[in-house]
């Protein structure tokens, strides 16, 4: 499997620098779990950060007092040890970190009907900036309720969807902003399961936006 639509450099840099809030990070990290090429790009960015780290301007050296303080803490500490690999389970559909947020893989999920054969699960995060949902779109049908303003990230986990000419399949990440008018539609043959992260709508502004959208034809 080769991921066709990788995370952009701008978004990946935000993730690499620790400057991306939890909701967006969840989509990027889950995409990275499915996309080795994007992980190599992340590694190159962290390498770049390391090179900058070497050249960082240093105002003062650490003193002997600083070292004594550090040394005193070492005796009480334990090594974290090697990460013990877990007993191998069957290969899942939903990788970490998303699976832990959902509490299980696809077979255990409790979907809520959205209408027109679509389903969703709201995912709680501590991030007030975003709204995070898992969507299941029936094969051949458009994504319902698809009005959003601001950034939107969509990560495909199963099936695929078309957006215009582009096909997005497992592992692909679509980055859209409010300026993009699009009607993503699940491809035929298999229901599409995707993670959708959007900016959390402010009730009134989104109502206003909905009112003026037809007028402005946006």
């Amino acid at each position: 499997m080769n991921v066709q639509h990788q995370v952009s450099d701008e978004l990946l840099l935000d993730y690499a620098s620790g400057n991306l809030s939890e909701g967006w990070s969840l989509a990027v990290a889950t995409h990275l779990a499915l996309c080795p090429q994007a992980r190599r790009r992340l590694q190159a960015m962290e390498g770049a950060a390391g090179a900058l780290f070497d050249k960082i301007s240093v105002s003062e050296k650490v003193t002997d007092t600083d070292w004594d303080k550090m040394k005193a803490k070492l005796s009480g500490s334990r090594s974290a040890g090697q990460v013990i690999s877990r007993p191998s389970q069957s290969e899942g559909v939903i990788p970490e970190p998303l699976r832990s947020y959902l509490g299980g893989d696809v077979s255990t999920l409790k979907w809520r009907a959205l209408g027109r054969g679509a389903y969703q699960i709201r995912i709680d995060t501590g991030d007030p900036e975003t709204q995070v949902r898992l969507l299941r779109i029936p094969a051949g049908k458009p994504v319902p309720e698809h009005t959003h303003d601001g950034r939107e990230l969509t990560l495909v986990l199963a099936g695929s969807f078309y957006d215009g000419q582009d096909l997005f399949a497992r592992g692909d990440l679509e980055e859209a902003d409010g300026s993009l008018l699009h009607t993503p539609t699940a491809a035929e043959g298999e229901d599409c399961i995707c993670l959708a992260v959007t900016e959390r709508p402010l009730k009134f502004s989104s109502w206003v936006v909905r009112m003026i959208q037809p007028i402005l034809k946006i």
Binding site: G47, A51, F53, V58, P95
Partner: protein, 193 residues
């Protein structure tokens, strides 16, 4: 003996030296090796923390916590990957995120649903050893305005719109500088593969 050379504070430490030191900390719990690493990275970590926090006391505490985590996690460092500075950066970054009570979900390499890289580990190790040196050189060839944007992102933890505002340039320019910089770095890395 090499050992005494490496633990002399005045010694100019190469990436390979740093890698040996960190490996010794992980495998032998070598306090002398850790002192050398602490004296080398401590001031850098402190500067890094001070850029975001603007608080000397907090920066000092976060430096101590980062170096404690380096001691504790040293055994997880893979010497084949070679790049100690990048590894310490990720630890410092994570400490800074924790300090501000934020969350940054991460993938798990031991997860059965994790898609592994199909490149042979031996090839990858060689590449990664080269990468640390190559990246350092490639960074030096970047135009200053591109380097500036990347620095601000990593060190000040500034959003793209904040960077645009601070530098007095359009948001689109910030994004194109990021793309150009990393395209250049990647092409430098790929040219030798």
């Amino acid at each position: 003996m090499k050992r005494t050379d490496l633990t002399t504070p005045e010694h100019e430490l190469s990436p390979a030296d740093l890698s040996k030191l960190l490996t010794r900390i992980g495998q032998q719990r070598d306090v002398d090796a850790f002192e050398t690493l602490f004296r080398h990275y401590g001031p850098r970590v402190r500067s890094f923390m001070a850029m975001k926090t603007r608080d000397t006391q907090l920066a000092e505490e976060l430096m101590q916590e980062t170096m404690m985590a380096v001691w504790n996690k040293a055994v997880q460092f893979d010497p084949a990957r070679g790049n100690v500075s990048a590894w310490i950066f990720t630890i410092a970054r994570n400490q800074r995120i924790d300090a501000f009570r934020r969350k940054r979900p991460m993938f798990d390499e031991n997860d059965p649903a994790f898609v592994k890289d199909d490149v042979l580990p031996a090839d990858l190790e060689l590449e990664e050893r080269q990468d640390a040196e190559l990246l350092r050189k490639a960074m030096e060839t970047l135009p200053p305005e591109q380097l500036d944007v990347i620095k601000r992102a990593f060190f000040d933890e500034a959003s793209h719109s904040t960077i645009a505002q601070d530098m007095g340039i359009p948001l689109g320019t910030v994004k194109s500088r990021i793309r150009l910089a990393f395209e250049k770095l990647r092409s430098t890395l790929e040219a030798v593969r």
